[in-house]
């Protein structure tokens, strides 16, 4: 096993406590890679939902997640949270307007609820162009939800481009499933 020296990644202001402990430790370690302070005037990174740990191997059974909201109920219209796109397009197809309206209506009645609109593409074309295309797709959904009354503060966009395909593989089907925006609660 190769010893991998792990360093803390940038933490949001909300995680100052552990961050402080680490910085104290780091100052005593001259060869430790370090990060400088963020640029002044730059917005702080979005706090991640929960600290992620090393992912267990496939053999371990994942514990049953706790119920977080109606979007997890298969019989609820909010369960449909994925909007699919045509190749190299950020235009929302008419059959997905209802999906967006359903979520917009729910968010209108629960103003404390926030969502992240995750934009994705298929693997065709260049990675950096696709990152921008995924961003455009997320932005298309955001604008429509804004028009449906959802407030700016309730929505964030995040493009993964082609980096998180829905399925591995290089088939038409994998590509079709990957061209998507996921409304993440």
């Amino acid at each position: 096993m190769i010893p991998t020296l792990m360093c803390p990644v940038r933490t949001a202001a909300g995680r100052l406590g552990p961050c402080l402990v680490l910085s104290l430790w780091l100052t005593g370690c001259a060869e430790m890679p370090q990060e400088t302070a963020p640029l002044t005037g730059m917005p702080p990174p979005t706090p991640s939902a929960a600290p992620r740990t090393t992912v267990p191997t496939a053999s371990t059974e994942t514990p049953r997640p706790t119920y977080r909201g109606p979007w997890e109920d298969p019989s609820n219209p909010l369960y449909q949270r994925t909007i699919y796109f045509d190749y190299d397009s950020a235009e929302i197809k008419p059959q997905y307007l209802d999906v967006i309206r359903t979520h917009s209506a729910y968010l209108g009645t629960t103003p404390a609820q926030r969502v992240t609109l995750e934009g994705n593409t298929d693997e065709r074309g260049t990675r950096e162009y696709n990152l921008a295309l995924g961003d455009q797709r997320a932005e298309s959904v955001r604008k429509l939800m804004l028009a449906e009354g959802v407030t700016t503060g309730q929505m964030a966009t995040l493009s993964y481009g082609e980096e998180k395909p829905a399925e591995p593989g290089h088939s038409e089907n994998a590509w079709r499933l990957s061209r998507r925006v996921i409304i993440q609660y």
Binding site: V21, E35, L39, E128, A132, L158, S159, E163, P168
Partner: protein, 437 residues
Amino acid sequence: MTTGKLLRLIATLTLAATASLIVPGTTQARLTIEVTGGVEAAQPIAVVPFGVSEGLIPKEDVAAVIGADLVRTGKFRALPTRDMMAMPSTAAEVDLRDWSLLKMNSLVIGRVEQEGSGYRVSYTLFDVVGGKEIASSSLSTTSGGLRLTAHRVADQVYEKLTGQPGVASSRIAYITASGHGEGQTVTLRVADADGSNPQTIVSSNEPIMSPAWAKDGRQLAYVSFENRRAAIYVQDLTSGRRDLVASYPGINSSPAFSPDGQRLAMTLSKDGNANIYVLNLQTRELTQLTDHFAIDTEPSWSPDGNDLIFTSDRGGSPQIYRMSTAGGPAARVSGEGDYNARASYSPDGKSITMVTRVNGQFRIVVQDLARGLRKVLSDGGLDESPSFAPNGSMVIYATVQNGRGVLATAAVEGGGSQRISQDSGEVREPAWSPTMK
């Protein structure tokens, strides 16, 4: 709190982080390079096993490294050691008639000697046909630098025989990925041009993209999603120290160092759509270069630093445009094709390499800027991320072989092609370093 408790707390906290910086020096899975073509016109050369002083056992077979470097260019074929009739290691021991009989064009001999705690490598290159010595030199190295010194000798021999600088002592940055979904591991690595000495620069469960070299070869810029959003980092390869340089709302993408290393071009969508910006790395002043509702991304600097080329779909499909780094209008550069993207300049600035779509297949092309002539270099269907070798002779790119991501090189004008794979997982997004001094 006791020291033990503190250490346990630190261990827990570091495990919670999604990315890890890794101290340079740790080695990882080796890249395997197969030469896949271009050896027809190869010149015969003999690289005789180097002599060593009594009792010295160098860590590397210097002649074997030099021979393999020359063969990989596609311009040489090396005489197998078993076919050699003599093993001279000094000029006085050489009888060029032996090598003429074996139909060699050139001969390299040399010695490795102890020098302090390191080595002194000396070599002599002969023109067998012309019957004369044409180069001789010696290089000092630490014991850990012996392999790099062998690459440098290969580069000097290559330059003497072809008139073009060699690239054996350059390096390649690339991304590896294994697993899928939440179980994915992505790393940014740097290896020598012959695939040896791979080192992990950063590792994460979230995507890492777009490695880009600074012109001095000492820093890499890249995009990492380790905080669950795209952010651009600049990392020093020697110390491991890194700076977070862009983490705006939206995408933070496509970093590209200016030739003078003072500025970083990048793509940001903080104002709603993807535009090209330039960040001054000293003053941290950010300048917006393009302002268009279309996607503008993938900036690349001209070698003189005066122009940027970038991808834009402002005309309805992705195409390459060029504009002055001082700002102003952008003009289309890419010729035929309904999809041309991720262009970068050749080291002499006379041509560009990019991804193009031909009959639904994504391939690598080189386009001559003065005449607009294009040459397709690859024959895959999902080829991407082309990057020129520092001498402009080859382009390295990512391709898919048997469903798996591998790297390949293609010669721009005659020479070898190679396929570069790792024993497991995907390899992608190669970035060839500048010439290392």
